[in-house]
Amino acid sequence: MREITFLEAIREAMSQEMRTNPDVFIMGEDIGLYGGAFGVTNGMLEEFGPERVRSTPISEAAISGAAVGAALTGMRPILEIQFSDFITIAMDNIVNQAAKIRYMFGGKAQVPLVIRTPSGSGAGFAAQHSQSLEAWMVHVPGLKVVQPSTPYDAKGLLKAAIDDNNPVIFYEHKLLYRYKGNVPEEPYSIPLGVADVKREGRDVTIVATAIMVHRALEAAELLEREDGIRVEVIDPRTLVPLDEETIIRSVKKTGRLVVVHEAVKRGGIGGEIASIVAESEAFDYLDAPIVRLGGRPVPIPYNPELEKRAVPQVEDIVQAVRQLLNRA
């Protein structure tokens, strides 16, 4: 199978949908000739024209609302929010409008909208361009939240998101954009709400999201090599809906759980996952307390060394697992 980048996989998913469904279009800031801040839409203007690859003014409140209005009346818009931090300026349309319209209107309307947005730190963009705010979205009934970690998952999940009749927030970690992987050329869909076991193991379960999936896999490799610890790595891939069953099944097998995400630990999705396990039958199988690794409670700093310290790194995961197995 051919290899393409995470970014190319996203572009391919959008382009394939736009070739087959005239209701699908994309809008956002600088997505035309410029190709988007990260180049995700490069070349799409040339193929689809300015009507369907719609460059907008810097007006997050208007473009997010217009996306809701277009979705409400029969289009299937993809909105690119240039950095996920800017979701703050589109918040009313996501939280009070898109998420609630179906319920408020008694099930007589739907908002098939995808908001794609780059998130995460590690690129030197500092406090207002590096956050991981996905837990906010998880908290709002009516939204679905997707957070892929590989090019293969990104393409299949984006197709599923575009085909979904609900508002979906699709997070793209900026450090993953250049990451390569095997991706089939033909369109395919990965159902929302199905986790992927990225590595099988029986000593400890790590549930990790986005870039942390890769750090967990690297840690797992090292732990097996140096300590003989066999780590199971689970990527939920979608936070809403969340595949609780796969996580619970794994913890019952390993008896140990580490949850790792980049978002600030306090109020993060890790607390939710830990609670789900604690409330489940897997609780009786736990041989040790659940461990959560997440971002420090600070804004993302600019200096590269401080920036690294703000979020979990491979060595943090290795250390956490060793401590959990009393091998530190």
Partner: protein, 327 residues
């Protein structure tokens, strides 16, 4: 004067229909207030008594496929766009037969089949949504126009400014219809903006802006009709500022300390849109006094029937709580 409306497709028959709609709205609102006072309506409501003509007049110019976006003060808009008052009243009484199965209430009534894309509890939030609905019309070449209602308070929200700009640069078929009832909750608009007319803000977005007397059918019809036609021709949006007045408070608990009783009396006695329209209809021999009275009582009876329908409707079942969160 009345002949001048004919070129906008508004003849004697249509004027009577507008008059009837105004009465239906007023009777609906007066009844809602009574029911609220009797404790039969829960939560809150925002009544549009005194500003019926903006809704009835503007919506009378729309085709069935055209769309509207409404506000928290949205009962009049829903009725004027052909809404079913039985379903509205059932919604206000929290019944499963209501527009939103009892889950939306006063601020979230929508009628997708009739082109009412919904009331909205967030001030100005409907403006960008209207822009998006107009974008659909343009992209799918559906030919419909979106009439977007909002109040004076909304014009100080960012969504208003961003939305007007976006609709203007994309030349979208939308009419921005500001019902300036002089007060944003308690905030007098003259203290909240530093210009004398909201419509002047249109200049900033390169679109026409006009201020009209929203209680005068001779001003509401031409201004709205021209804006709709401009939108339909693909020339883009217009901002209409229709000056009007809400007779009641902002919502259920409003002591109206921010305005005088004299001011209210002036609007009720000399600027009542229904009385003014009735005067014109009588003067031109379109209706007799008796016919006008019959319209008033016939619409009152229709509202009473709506109350009966609502009161005889079941409440939603407890297990409907988690239904319709996702499609």
């Amino acid at each position: 004067m009345i002949e001048k409306l004919r070129k906008y497709g508004v003849d004697a028959e249509k004027l009577v229909e507008i008059f009837r709609q105004c009465w239906l709205i007023r009777n609906f609102e007066e009844t809602v207030e009574e029911l609220f006072q009797k404790g039969k309506i829960y939560g809150t409501m925002h009544l549009c008594v005194g500003q019926e003509l903006t809704a009835a007049g503007a919506c009378s110019l729309l085709k069935p496929e055209d769309k509207i976006i409404s506000t928290h003060r949205g009962h009049g808009h829903c009725i004027a766009k052909g809404g079913d008052i039985n379903l509205m009243m059932a919604e206000l009484l929290g019944r499963v037969t209501g527009y939103c199965k009892g889950k939306g209430g006063s601020m979230h009534i929508a009628d997708m089949d009739k082109g009412n894309l919904g009331a909205n509890g967030i001030v100005a939030a409907g403006i960008p949504i209207a822009v998006g609905a107009a974008l659909t019309s343009k992209m799918k070449e559906l030919g419909y126009v979106v009439l977007c209602f909002f109040g004076d308070g909304a014009t100080n929200e960012g969504a208003f400014h961003e939305g007007l700009n976006l609709a203007s640069i994309w030349k979208l078929p939308v009419v921005f219809f500001c019902e300036n009832n002089l007060y944003a909750m308690s905030g007098p608009i003259k203290e909240m903006i530093n210009i004398d007319q909201i419509s002047k803000r249109a200049a900033a977005y390169g679109i026409p802006g006009v201020t009209i007397d929203g209680n005068d059918v001779y001003q509401v019809i031409p201004a709205t009709a021209e804006a709709i036609e401009r939108a339909r021709r693909g020339e883009g949006p217009t901002l209409i500022e229709a000056v009007t007045y809400r007779w009641k408070g902002h919502s259920r608990s409003d002591a109206r300390k921010y305005r005088t009783r004299e001011e209210e009396m002036e609007w009720k006695t000399n600027k009542d849109p229904i009385a003014r329209l009735k005067g014109e209809l009588l003067k031109h021999g379109i209706l007799t006094e008796a016919q006008a009275d019959e319209i008033q009582s016939e619409t009152k009876r229709a509202v009473e029937e709506a109350v009966a329908f609502a009161e005889n409707s079941p409440f939603p079942s407890p297990d409907s709580l988690e239904q319709d969160v996702y499609a």
